[in-house]
């Protein structure tokens, strides 16, 4: 039972355009969401997070939107750059649970930004 779903295995965009990566979750106990970026042969690196008390968090070119009623979040990258090409993982945790350290990950979306 996949609690965090990234339904698009891959996404291709042109340099300078917007990249939108989507993530859905089923567990209503999740209240903290993170995006990680992963290059080949490297471990995932933290990108941006959002708490359930917010519906938007912005950091430079990266913005994460959270729609709690739809149990959906998205990561927007504007403008996209070739160096953004990587696998992006959505992850979630339930902060007020005893096991709040556990992150549940989606399967990832491979983003390719074409020059």
């Amino acid at each position: 039972d996949q609690q965090v779903k990234q339904n698009s295995p891959s996404l291709s965009v042109q340099e300078g355009r917007i990249s939108i990566l989507n993530c859905d979750y089923t567990n209503s106990m999740f209240d903290y969401f993170l995006w990680y970026k992963k290059y080949p042969a490297e471990g995932p690196t933290f990108l941006i997070s959002i708490s359930s008390i917010k519906d938007k968090n912005e950091d430079g070119r990266f913005t994460v939107f959270l729609n709690k009623s739809a149990k959906h979040l998205s990561l927007h990258i504007v403008p996209s750059q070739p160096g953004d090409s990587a696998v992006y993982f959505c992850a979630a945790s339930a902060r007020f649970f005893r096991s709040n350290y556990k992150l549940t990950f989606g399967k990832g979306t491979l983003l390719t930004v074409n020059p």
């Binding site: 965090v4 990234q6 903290y32 990680y36 042969a41 490297e42 471990g43 995932p44 690196t45 933290f46 997070s49 708490s51 993982f89 992850a91 945790s93 339930a94 902060r95 096991s99 709040n100 350290y101 556990k102 992150l103 549940t104 990950f105 989606g106 399967k107 990832g108």
Partner: protein
């Protein structure tokens, strides 16, 4: 400073053999995690260590898997009598504290191939 390191980076072993994977967390990080990423899947939580507390082993897939963390620092994940379905990338992460909002820093992973 140094990030999380893992060794070996690649391991090929025959079915039925035991393997040991090593993780060196970031100095000063009290929490350490092991994840597994099988082909086409997201990161799957295996085990969590926090200070001197009893580890959370709830993600270990079978009793062939075990892990220890010596002196609150280096951790070893051991897989006994390896099976082909154990083939995956094994990722270690550490964080300053063990809360759901404490950023997890990942190592580059060990790619395990069981033939």
């Amino acid at each position: 400073g140094a990030g999380v390191s893992q060794s070996p980076s690649n391991k090929v072993t025959e079915k039925g053999k035991d393997v040991e994977l090593r993780c060196d967390p970031i100095s000063g990080h009290t929490a350490l995690y092991w994840y597994r990423q099988s082909l086409g899947q997201g990161l799957e939580f295996l085990i969590y260590f926090q200070g001197n507390s009893a580890p959370d082993k709830s993600g270990l897939p079978s009793d062939r898997f075990s892990a220890e963390r010596t002196g609150g620092s280096v951790s070893t994940l051991t897989i006994q009598r390896t099976q082909q379905e154990d083939s995956a990338v094994y990722l270690c992460a550490s964080s300053f504290t063990g809360t759901g909002t404490s950023e997890q820093y990942f190592g580059p992973g060990t790619r395990l191939t069981v033939t």
